[in-house]
Symmetry: C2
């Protein structure tokens, strides 16, 4: 075990910046963070991109549990929290301390939205994740559920059981279930706009237009002296 004592880290403890994108599948957030990554890297800034649910440690057990249909909302939530904590402590936090721009494709807000839709207590979920630093910017790509869902369902791909929210007994039709499930997640995101300080981006706009808005926001951090000095292409 690494000797990392659990201590709430605040923005003043780190040199880096944490930029988060949130939104339902099909909201275009991954495209936007990809473009932001390229732009920041081009500017010579050390960038590290991280995705939800990518820790090797618990990937296996999560998919095993999902397959067996044995997970309850609490164990589902705690497994994802373990996965996140692993990535957070081994990648996100060390790189933030080292001055990186960490770009997170989904962060704790994804858990806040999904776990609550699945039946977890909202304040409990927030407490479980309270070790995680508050992002410098959280961009929330808001799109009407039908637009996002249509983007995902082009060609009618096979949806996974949990992905479609079939466990919630919303509908016997998986596409219909998916639509209702995504709609409920949007409702959760919407409640967080104020409380979590999301920067809302209209995800129905042109990709370039959205990216311009994102970059304008980030520009404010970049013009601080520290990052100006880093404005030379560095090896990543």
């Amino acid at each position: 075990m690494k000797n990392i004592n659990q201590k709430i880290v605040t923005q003043s403890d780190i040199d880096g910046k944490l930029i988060v994108v949130e939104g339902i599948d099909g909201s275009g957030k991954s495209t936007q963070i990809h473009l932001l990554d390229k732009w920041l890297s081009y500017k010579g800034i050390n960038v590290f991109k991280t995705e939800w649910n990518s820790s090797e440690m618990v990937k296996e057990i999560t998919s095993k549990g999902k397959k067996k249909g044995q997970l309850t909302p609490t164990t589902f939530s705690l497994l994802h929290a373990t996965d996140f904590a692993d990535r957070y402590e081994r990648h996100i936090l060390p790189l933030l301390r080292a001055g990186y721009f960490v770009l997170a494709d989904r962060y704790v807000f994804t858990a806040f939205a999904r776990d609550v839709v699945r039946g977890c207590n909202p304040s409990w979920v927030r407490k479980v994740y309270n070790f995680a630093i508050k992002p410098h910017f959280t961009f929330y790509f808001r799109v009407p559920v039908d637009i996002a869902v249509d983007r995902i369902l082009v060609g009618r791909p096979k949806l996974k059981y949990y992905e479609a929210g079939m466990d919630l007994n919303l509908s016997n039709d998986e596409y219909e279930s998916y639509r209702i499930f995504q709609g409920r997640i949007i409702e959760q995101y919407d409640t967080m706009v104020e409380t979590e300080g999301f920067t809302v981006i209209d995800g129905t706009l042109d990709i370039e237009e959205q990216q311009k808005m994102v970059r304008n926001k980030i520009m404010a951090i970049l013009s601080s002296s520290k990052y100006k000095q880093m404005n030379i292409k560095q090896k990543k």
Copy 2:
């Protein structure tokens, strides 16, 4: 996923009784719960015994993570919480609802003690586990660290790395490390006696004498009418 909405269950929601034993390894708690199990079963009461860390779901990943030494205090804590939640929601809670006497060899207090010794924030750990019902009785078997450790170390068994607390850098000698580690866990248990309402049993007394104290306490519940009616040997 089972459709178990996360809701804090209180003692008034269940018909069963939750009896917990806590104490460090070598405190004699497992012997006492074994004897209690036999006694209650003989009385015709439906008993279910459960142990810490016995869920198949996360056993594999925990031992994998432990082997690799990749766990931080937070991920270590969350993995055990997931394991516990799995057992809690699939066994403990349903059986409590069904009126069983659930006997738990270690419960959330083990996490409160160990995770805090490993560096987790005490109030965070308690919040993570706040879905778990408060036990009707928690017997804490208190023994001086040297007595408990000597019981365990008879024959100098090979201690596992984490079992000996080697990750805490307490000593290069694993037996010395184990002793210090267990001493710190006792300190944590001692802080919980008042706050968690432990019934303290002197673990240095004769086995029979301790068991008599335990049974006397349990007797109070048994004399309530509901359990009197069950006082006929039933199939388990």
